[in-house]
């Protein structure tokens, strides 16, 4: 096994750094770019992890040279990953488009539900206090109706 090379590692690291930075943005399109970069970086990482470069893993007549061939398994995995990344990229893209169509922009906004939850603390507290079972009293009041529905 040959020792690894720094250049490839630097490219992987750089792509991850750029991808992560873009992923942390609020513009969906930037997220999309970040996603693309992360995909590239991961595919490269897969290949590098398999070991040093080699000849194409094609045997027989089409084979050129006697170099040891590269590991084909991560290549097959990366090929699958490329196609899946493509599908996901396009899906993200249609989300960008849809977001633009519905909201007029492609910014990721804070989740409205969560925001409401944070803001309505006061209101909820009072609502909880008014919850019926709190006012239900004790003793016989709880079983005010038996299974026939007739009041005791």
């Amino acid at each position: 096994m040959n020792p690894p090379d720094v250049a490839a590692a630097v490219v992987v690291g750089g792509l991850f750094a750029a991808g992560c930075y873009l992923l942390l943005q609020r513009t969906l399109m930037r997220l999309l770019f970040g996603f693309l970069l992360l995909g590239h970086a991961t595919n490269l990482l897969l290949l590098i992890a398999a070991g040093s470069p080699g000849a194409p893993p094609i045997i027989g007549a089409a084979r050129i040279g006697d170099e040891p061939s590269a590991d084909p398994l991560p290549q097959a995995m990366a090929l699958t990953a490329i196609v899946i990344t493509f599908a996901l990229t396009i899906f993200l893209l249609s989300l960008v488009y849809r977001s633009r169509q519905l909201h007029g922009n492609d910014e990721v906004r804070d989740d409205a539900e969560d925001r409401r939850l944070a803001e309505n603390q006061q209101r909820e507290a009072s609502a909880a206090a008014a919850d019926p079972h709190r006012t239900n009293g004790s003793g016989q009041a709880r079983t005010a109706a038996d299974e026939g529905g007739n009041t005791l």
Partner: protein, 1012 residues
């Protein structure tokens, strides 16, 4: 056993339809199976008494210790008999009592009986848990009824939450027990119990489950609340059977674990508390059912004590009381139901003089209540006697055979006695409340007579007498279980008469004191009103639940801030912290093999790396969408180059093609988006934080790449794949992996691809085309004058060539880089080329092909190719080599995996076509009056023909066609500059359909096909 349980399940599945069809008759049908069970269990008695324990089992999931195993021993037989006896009687009773929903109620009751039988005969912890929770669920459904009132729903929910929470604790305990003992068989576990701190904890958890199920204080609040259920349900589930499950479990485990001090402490204290406090509370209630419910809690406490104590006498007492309680308590519940039916109330303050009007019912109730009070010669008396005996004369217990810890016996005995006194008092109070003459209250109005309700009550009450007199039967029945426990020198036997013993004195004293207490009760009650309420467990339950809800809201508020960047920051920081620190730690400690790396593999690689990094860096700084897209493309092409240098031509090819297709589609979609990526209104601090995090992650991954690539010491596992690749008929190993070795992955992948593409197409607006009445039709026609003749001609010439190339790539994949993916992508690019020059207007573009059919057909072909080998008995996805001669071509050697590859090709090509056709018209702006006149809307032409596509992506500035795309987004129903076809209310829909129509100025038969 298995057959019986299955019969219960089948019957309960059938009963709802029987109930719908024949109404009340469903109850008779329902009675059959419990009756059969009763007969069966009676026939099993001789065998079990002879020491036989029939068992049945078959494997379920042995790896998980899951097996279906049933075992019928003494205790199980006793419980089975009780469940089937009471079940039968309750079903008979319900035939008369029930007023509606016969199918549902009877089905649930039968299902419950089946689950209960399974519970008591299960000999596997996990199986036991399954049945345990089944009874919980049935109980929930029966309490809730059809959810008529809040009280019903709340009670059902409370019962479910309490018992299921206990059940979960119990499951945890079961798993801990099973793991530490190495077996999940209950009988083996109890015979050879493990020991240790973990086991003690497990036992506590199991006990919590049992206490919750048996409504022991302080987890008892659900049982009185559950009294909203119909009375037969209360009689069966909440008196005779389900609540006994906890008692049963304690009895089942006692021979193994009663020696643990924790066990004794818990069982005796909780049991005693429930016994006394439950009985005390029963004296306060006015609703007859609630009196009985608190009485049940009290009796269950006694049972838990007796079974949990783990001595011979206490087990005998427990078994006797178990049977006795089932008989008298369900009898009293059924009596209450009859009282309710006859008079319309069960409030003892309104009942006056019922005893005189219904003497038979009263006497039956007296028999049952006397049994409850422990009066001779009834079965309850036998139980009480044995219970006193167990604690009066300390006996050896499990795990503690020599020196019985006498320290607490006195207290327990005192508690037992107080409990007995109170029991007598509330038994008397029940009778008095239901049947006595009450001056000052109007006599009850008898609404109807219900002689048929009395039969089951009478059976239960009379059985109590018969079994009391025939006490040797009980002694025999209880024997198999009790004899397994250690006993003193002279084993106790259940009997009516032991002579003048202190125990008899206690029994008599309890009876007398109880009656006296009942007489004095009214005086005491006045005083007691001033006392605070006894443990408000009902309120406590709800406040715990409220607290939990509030906690959940608070937690959500804290953790779910709703901001995507924050979430991602947390996730990425976790990546950095956990695996990152592991990597650092390994590197420092020298566990990670680090070799001195080479600087670069080749100068070309380094140069390409610099290009890729530069493009990525520029992408981070990009402010315009198109710039970003182009830079992303540059990165992609650069990475493809790196793939090539690494010896992965297949990857490189796929990457090049995918990158091109992505670029085209993104640019098509971009036309509808603002050119600017938006300003970054983030604080500098935030930006710094993000940059730091990103850089740290990049460093981590770079180091990681170095480490993993140098950590590899073993040869590739693909060695065998490479050596045997010719067997697949292929020379390209990567292709062989994709279509042969790991074809299942590929199949999954193309399926995902298709689904994602369909989703994208729908989001991009493809569905509108699909929904229109028109068949698949080109939506745009580029005006003649916008077409570039040269480009058109070149593309027309190129198109077939590219298609041929794609097919060549498909077939050559077996010995060169290529294959279905590459071929399909090239084909998709060919279509993209056609689309960009001619739009859909070119009739030869798509022909009759619907891309969805192409892609779906491809998936079907790949699936068929995968499943094909099954026909002649091989594994799916097997590939075989076929050789045959063709007239002109000569000898052809073919692997059947080629068909799979063709499927992949079709899917990829179809997906590409689908996406392009969706992305194209989706951006089509609303028709605008072009200066040239009556020309249709343009879009693609604009882009291709335009010198500066960038401008077309800035709708705000250019008053061109895109201005109305803007309007489309913001103000549906208003399209600028659309003089001829201004229909505000339908502006949104028209946006697309306009594209399909011929220009408005051009009259023709097809005008407005889909629009009108």
């Amino acid at each position: 056993m298995l057959v019986l349980i299955a019969a219960h399940a089948v019957l309960s599945a059938v009963l709802p339809s029987v109930g719908r069809r024949y109404g009340r008759a469903a109850w008779w049908v329902a009675t059959c199976v419990p009756l059969a069970t009763l007969v069966w269990s009676l026939t099993q008695i001789p065998g079990v008494l002879g020491g036989d324990t029939p068992d049945q089992h078959f494997s379920w999931a042995p790896v998980l210790h899951l097996e279906v195993r049933f075992r019928l021993d003494g205790l199980a037989l006793l419980m089975t008999s009780i469940v089937s006896l009471v079940g039968t009687l309750v079903l008979v009773y319900s035939h008369r009592y029930s007023s509606g929903g016969h199918g549902r109620e009877s089905a649930l009751l039968v299902a419950f009986a089946g689950a209960m039988i399974g519970l008591v005969t299960a000999d596997n912890l996990l199986l036991l848990y399954v049945f345990w929770e089944l009874t919980t669920i049935v109980s929930f459904l029966l309490i809730a009824g059809v959810g008529r009132t809040t009280a019903h729903r709340r009670a059902a929910e409370q019962a479910l939450v309490t018992t299921a929470a206990g059940g979960l604790a119990m499951l945890l305990g079961f798993v801990m027990l099973g793991e530490s003992a190495g077996t999940y068989r209950v009988s083996a576990l109890v015979a050879d119990p493990p020991r240790g701190g973990e086991v003690t904890a497990a036992v506590v958890l199991v006990l919590i489950g049992a206490f919750a199920k048996s409504a022991q204080m302080p987890l008892h609040a659900w049982l009185p609340a559950a009294m909203v259920a119909p009375t037969p349900v209360s009689a069966f589930l909440h008196a005779a059977a389900m609540v006994k499950a906890g008692v049963y479990l304690v009895g089942r485990f006692a021979p193994g674990f009663a020696g643990l001090p924790t066990w004794q402490t818990l069982v005796l204290s909780v049991g005693l508390l429930s016994l006394v406090a439950g009985a005390w509370q029963a004296l306060r209630e006015h609703d007859l059912k609630r009196v009985l419910a608190y009485g049940t809690i009290s009796e269950l406490g006694l049972l838990i004590m007796l079974f949990g104590h783990g001595g011979h006498t206490s087990a005998l007492a427990g078994e006797t009381m178990l049977l006795a309680h089932a008989l008298f308590k369900s009898g009293l519940f059924l009596t209450t139901g009859a009282v309710d039916r006859i008079t319309g109330t069960r409030d003892m303050r309104k009942l006056n003089g019922l005893g005189k009007r219904q003497p038979w019912l009263m006497w039956m109730a007296v028999l049952a209540a006397a049994s409850m009070a422990g009066a001779p010669p009834l079965i309850g008396f036998l139980g009480h006697e044995a219970a006193f005996e167990a604690f009066l004369h300390p006996e050896p217990i499990v795990g503690d055979p020599d020196a019985p810890a006498a320290g607490y016996q006195g207290w327990v005995l005192a508690g037992l006695f107080v409990g007995a006194v109170l029991t007598v008092a509330y038994s008397a109070r029940y009778l008095w409340g239901a049947f006595a003459d009450r001056p000052g209250v109007p006599p009850v109005h008898i609404r109807r007579r219900e002689p048929r309700l009395l039969a089951p009550v009478s059976v239960l009450a009379v059985l109590g007498v018969l079994l009391g007199v025939a006490y040797p039967v009980i002694d025999e029945l209880a024997g198999p279980y009790a004899d397994r426990l250690p006993s003193g020198p002279k084993p106790y036997h259940v009997a009516l008469w032991h002579g003048f013993t202190p125990v008899l004195g206690l029994s008599v004293l309890a009876l007398l004191l109880g009656l006296a207490f009942f007489r004095a009760n009214r005086v005491i009650r006045r005083q007691r009103r001033r006392l605070p309420l006894l443990p408000g467990a009902y309120e406590a339950y709800w406040s715990v639940l409220d607290g939990l809800n509030a906690f959940a809201v608070q937690l959500t508020r804290r953790t779910q801030v709703g901001s995507l960047p924050v979430y991602l920051t947390v996730i990425l920081s976790t990546v950095l912290l956990l695996p990152g620190s592991a990597l650092l730690f390994g590197a420092v400690s020298g566990d990670v093999p680090m070799r001195r790396p080479a600087l670069w593999e080749s100068p070309i690689q380094a140069t390409l790396g610099v290009v890729v990094l530069a493009a990525a860096g520029a992408l981070v700084a990009a402010r315009h969408r198109l710039t970003g897209v182009l830079l992303a493309g540059a990165v992609g092409y650069g990475v493809a180059g790196l793939f090539l240098l690494h010896g992965a031509p297949d990857l490189a090819l796929a990457q090049f093609l995918v990158e091109s297709l992505t670029l085209i589609i993104i640019v098509l979609v971009l036309r509808g988006l603002p050119a600017d990526l938006g300003t970054r209104h983030t604080l500098p601090r935030t930006r710094l934080l993000r940059a730091t995090l990103a850089l740290a992650l990049g460093t981590f991954f770079g180091l990681f790449a170095l480490v993993v690539s140098s950590a590899r010491t073993d040869p590739t596992i693909a060695r065998a794949m490479i050596e045997r690749v010719t067997e697949t008929g292929s020379y390209n190993v990567v292709n062989a992996i994709l279509v042969d070795y790991r074809a299942m992955d590929t199949f999954g992948e193309i399926a995902v691809l298709l689904v994602a593409a369909l989703g994208s197409a729908t989001l991009l607006g493809q569905h509108r085309l699909a929904d229109s009445d028109q068949p698949w039709r080109p939506p745009i026609e580029l005006p003649e004058h916008r077409k570039s003749l040269l480009l058109d001609a070149v593309v027309r010439l190129l198109f077939p060539c590219v298609l041929v190339l794609s097919v060549y790539l498909l077939f050559s994949g077996h010995w060169r880089p290529g294959g279905g993916f590459a071929g399909g992508l090239v084909a998709a690019l060919a279509f993209a080329l056609r689309y960009l020059t001619g739009g859909w207007g070119d009739p030869r573009f798509s022909g009759p092909l619907d891309p969805r059919i192409v892609a779906g057909g491809g998936l079907a072909l790949a699936g068929a190719a995968g499943l094909g080998p099954v026909v002649d008995g091989s594994e799916p996805l097997t590939s075989t080599l076929v050789q045959f001669d063709v007239a002109v071509l000569g000898k052809v050697k073919l692997a059947t995996s080629l068909f799979f590859d063709i499927g992949v090709y079709l899917v990829v090509a179809g997906v590409g076509m689908l996406l392009i056709s969706a992305a194209g018209p989706a951006r089509e702006p609303v028709g605008v009056q072009e200066p040239e006149g009556a020309s249709g809307p343009t879009g693609t032409g604009q882009l291709v023909g335009s010198e500066e596509p960038h401008a077309s992506a800035e709708p705000r500035e250019s008053p061109g066609p895109h201005a109305s795309a803007e309007a489309y987004g913001h103000e549906p129903g208003r399209s600028y500059g659309n003089g001829s076809e201004h229909r505000p209310e339908r502006g949104r829909e028209q946006a697309h359909e306009r594209g399909q129509e011929p220009p408005p100025a051009e009259p023709g038969p097809s005008t407005g096909g889909a629009d009108q």
